[in-house]
Amino acid sequence: MYLPVSSQPAFPARPVPAQAGIGLRPAHFRQVLDEHPPVPWLEVHSENFFCAGGEMLQTLDAVRRDYPISLHGVGLSLGSSHQLNEQHLAKLRQLIRRVEPALVSEHLCWGAVDGRHLNDLLPLPYTEESLDLMVGRVTAAQEFLERTLLLENVSTYLTYRHSTIPEAEFIAALAARSGCHILLDVNNIYVNAANHGYDAEKYIHAIPKQTVKEIHLAGFTRKQGLPVELLIDSHSRPVADAVWQLYRLALSHCGLVPTLIEWDRDIPPLHVLLAEAAKAESMLHEYRALAA
């Protein structure tokens, strides 16, 4: 585990609590700054703040003063077979040093090859080659960033014939070998279980619970006109009932973990997001009561 080094912190340390937060997107910046809603923590997309200056960074500074913050990256492409994107990593390090976030996360995926970016969270074949590569990349990134990273399982719409390792085992092995933590996206588990025909509950039980430091929840859409069921991780809808059920199971397996509501398309009014977070909070509360 790497501890952040900082001689003179600009902000007080604010750990992310085991409560339900929301993903903060530019559409709600103004309202959050003005109204200061009582949400226990916020997560932002790291790349939105890779700028040199201006309103975005000012907003993030202001938000950081009032809330625990998590930086969630979508573009580092850790699983790319070519070298680690050092330019991207350097910008992330600069941002980490500026805002001193409580958590820093990225995805178990790839998104670029030989400098050509597809700007999406693309599926890796789960092979020994991919695992060795990911372990090396995550280790190098953690050393460079002086942070333990959280790696998130992604939604996928295809699998590869030459994959040999079940996804849950792959991510568990990655955590064991690199020392990274897991950001368990319960919606993505549900989506993948439906898309690829595996057992979502078995997946959750295969995850080493002590490595799970954050949970994501979001809404999916169902792709129409296909001969098989295909769910798309659209982040455009409320969390589905079946995903709430799975979330309860994840809590009973992992214990109390900071939980985040994500919504990235057709973004609703802030109060809708806060109501989704309140729903997660009530489930966390049940487990808090059980644990007490």
Binding site: G54, M56, G75, H117, L124, P125
Partner: protein
Amino acid sequence: MNTAPSLHDLQTDFARWMLGEHGLSLPEAVAGNGLAPAARLQIYQNIIFNNLTAALRTDYPAVLKLVGEDFFETAAARYIRGYPSRSGNLQDYGAAFAEFLAAMPEAATLPYLSDVARLEWARQESYLAADAAPLDAAALASLPEDQHARLCLTLHPSLRLVESAHPIWDIWKFCQETAPRRLNLSGEGQALMVWREASQLAMQPVAGGQRKFVAALLCGTPLAAAHKSAVDADPDFDLTACLHWLFSIRLVTGCSFA
């Protein structure tokens, strides 16, 4: 792909397939699981094109308004294939859209379109540019007059000057209006300054000596030479008034000596 492809080969073929290359063995590596492997790849292709098109729509709302949805989608799809993204940050995508539109045959009847795109990219750059504290005008006032010739002024990092042979300011204003009205495209060329004022984008047309002066300062030209180029273009150019204006909108952020 009779044997399992290496990760690098798989990713290379994946990227090529997504950008429209055919005849690759990639589908053989994909499990169909009730669908044609190509149909599964197609889902990713759609998502990738939608994401990149959405980034272009965000950066180029005026271009979109001028050409309409169908034309924009066509232009975006062709741009995505011809100009692959080079960054993991979508904010960087679209820098060459103006260059692409200038060469797009179907846009030949809209000769101003590429300049509108240039203006919109300048706005994007300006919004994300570094911060800088303004210089106090008193710092200049205290300088001995004989040093003015060598003086170079640094302007705010967010400042961009967009010059066009078309009435780009009129076109821009037209694009901001909801009610349709007639737009005279045959007017004279215009130049626009774009910068950040209290974190929000500001824009203002500049002409004559002012335009030459700002253009010269942006190139790092010393004050005396910038003054000369402004007076050459406009004998009535008022240096003191222009400097006062630039200081008043907090665009002068530093000075040095050539």
